[in-house]
Amino acid sequence: MEALVSQLFAGLSLGSVLLLAALGLALTFGQMGVINMAHGEFMMAGAYTAFVVQKVVADAGVSLLVSLVIGFLVGGLLGLVLEVTLISRMYHRPLDTLLVTFGVALVLQQLARDVFGAPNVDVRAPAWLSGAVEILGVGVPKTRLFILGLATLAVVALGLALRLTPLGRRIRATVANRDLAETAGISTRATDRLTFFLGSGVAGVAGVALTLLGSIGPTLGTNYIVDAFLVVVVGGIGQLKGAVIAALGLGLLQAGIEYSSTASLAKVLVFVIIVAFLQVRPQGLVAVRTRSLA
C-alpha cells in the first residue's frame, strides 16, 4: 500500500512537471502549430531568472513568488521577440521553423553559458518548502506538492482564460479558422503574438518551478523539450484537457515502470507504448468533432 501511494505521488509529481513544461507548448504548438524547439530554453531562461532574482531579493520565499511573475514576463518576452522576428515569417514552413528555432535554442544555451558560466547553479528553496508532508503514511516533499499546486493553478487559469476572456475567444477563433477570424474583425497577427507571449510565459514559470527540484544549467531545457512535445501529441493537438491527461498519464507510467526496473528502461518502454498508442489513435487522446468542414 505504502509503495503504491509513494509511486502514485512520484508519478503525479513527474506528471505535474511535464504538464508545466508542456502547457505552453499546448498553446504554441497545439493551438498555433508552431514547432518551437527553443521552448525548453524559455524554461531555462525562467530558471535563471529565479537565480538572478534571488541575488537581488534575499528572502527565498519572496524571491520565489517574485520570480514566478518575472519568469513569466521573461519567457513571454523572449517568445514575443522570436515570434515577431523569425516565426511570423515562416508560418507556412514548419520544417524551416523547426530548424531556425533549434538554432535559436543553441544560441540561447551559449548565451547562458557566457553570462552564468557552464557549471550548474543552485537556487535556494524557501524554508516553508523544505521538508516533507506525510500523506497516507508516505513522506511527500513540499516542493513537489508546490509544483503540483502550481501546475493545477496554471491549467485552471489558462483554461478559464481561453474559455471566458475576450482574448481566449480570439485565440480559439483564430485557431479554428484564420480567414474567418480576420473577416470577423479580429487581428490574427496581434492574436498570434499574444498567444505566443502567453505560451512562452508559461514556459518561464515552469523554469522557475524547476529550480525547486535541483540545480539548473544551460541545458536544462533540452531535458524537457522532447517529453513536452510528446505530452502535446499524445494529448491531442489543440486540446488543453488532452495535455493534462497525457502529462499525468505519462508521469504515472514512467514512475510505475521505474519502480520495477530502471529510469532508462522506463523511458524506453514509455516511448514504445507511445509509438504503439499513436499507431492506434494518431489524433491523440482528445479530438474535436464537428459537423462542418470549415
Binding site: P166, R169, R170, R172, A173, V175, A176, N177, D179, L180, A181, E182, T183, A184, G185, I186, S187, T188, R189, G238, V288, R289, T290, R291, S292, L293, A294
Partner: protein, 231 residues
Amino acid sequence: MLELTGVHVGYGRTAVVHGVDVAVDADSVTAVMGHNGAGKTTLLRAAVGLLPVRSGSVRLDGDDVTKLRPHQRVRRGLAYVPQGQQSFGTLTARENLQLVADGAGAAGRRRLDESLDLFPALRGLLGRRAGLLSGGQRQQLAIARALITGPKVLILDEPTEGIQPNVVQEIEDAITTLTAAGGLAVLLVEQHVGFALSAASRYYVLESGRVTSEGAGGLDQEEDVRAAMAI
C-alpha cells in the same frame, strides 16, 4: 458605398478576375451572378482583403482600403459572410457572436441582441457548439455574426446555397428585412436568379472573370439575365 474599380485578382500565376468594375450604392442591394468558376467568390475575397488585388482599387465609403487587412476593413464597416456556412466550429454559438461583440462595448451587446431578434431560432441554440449546428443554423449564425460588426456594407456569398428550403425562405426574408430597414448596402452573390433580382436594385453578370452584362434590378430583368448567363 463600395466601389471596385478595374480589379484584377488571381491565384499564383493564374489570373481569375480581369479588370472588374462593381459599384454598390448606399441603402441598396447589388447582385452579382454567374456560373460556377466565373470568379464571383474570388472577387468578393479580394473586396474583403483575403486575396490581394493585383491592380485596381477597392474603395469603402470614399476611402481607399485596397491595402488594408481584412480586420481593418471590418472595422471600417465592411462585413462578409463567406460561402459554405462557415463558423468557428469549436466555439459555442454564443461565443461565435460574443467574439465579435467583445470589442464594441454597449453597441456590440445591442447589435448582438438585434441580430438574435432577426434569427430568433438561434436563441435556443446559443449553448451548443457551432460545429454541431445544421447548415441552415450555421448560416444564420454567420449572418448574425456579420451584422454584429455594425456594417455599412454587407457582402453575402451564396447565402442560401446548400440549405434546406424552409430555412432558405427565412434567410431571404431576413435579407429583405435588413435592406428595408435602411442604412445598409448589400452585395449579394446568388445562384437563385429570381430572388437575387427581386431583392437587387442593380445586377452584374460575371463570366470568366469579366462583367458581361449589367443593369437595373427587378424581376422584369430576369429574361435578360438568364439570356446573359445562357440558362
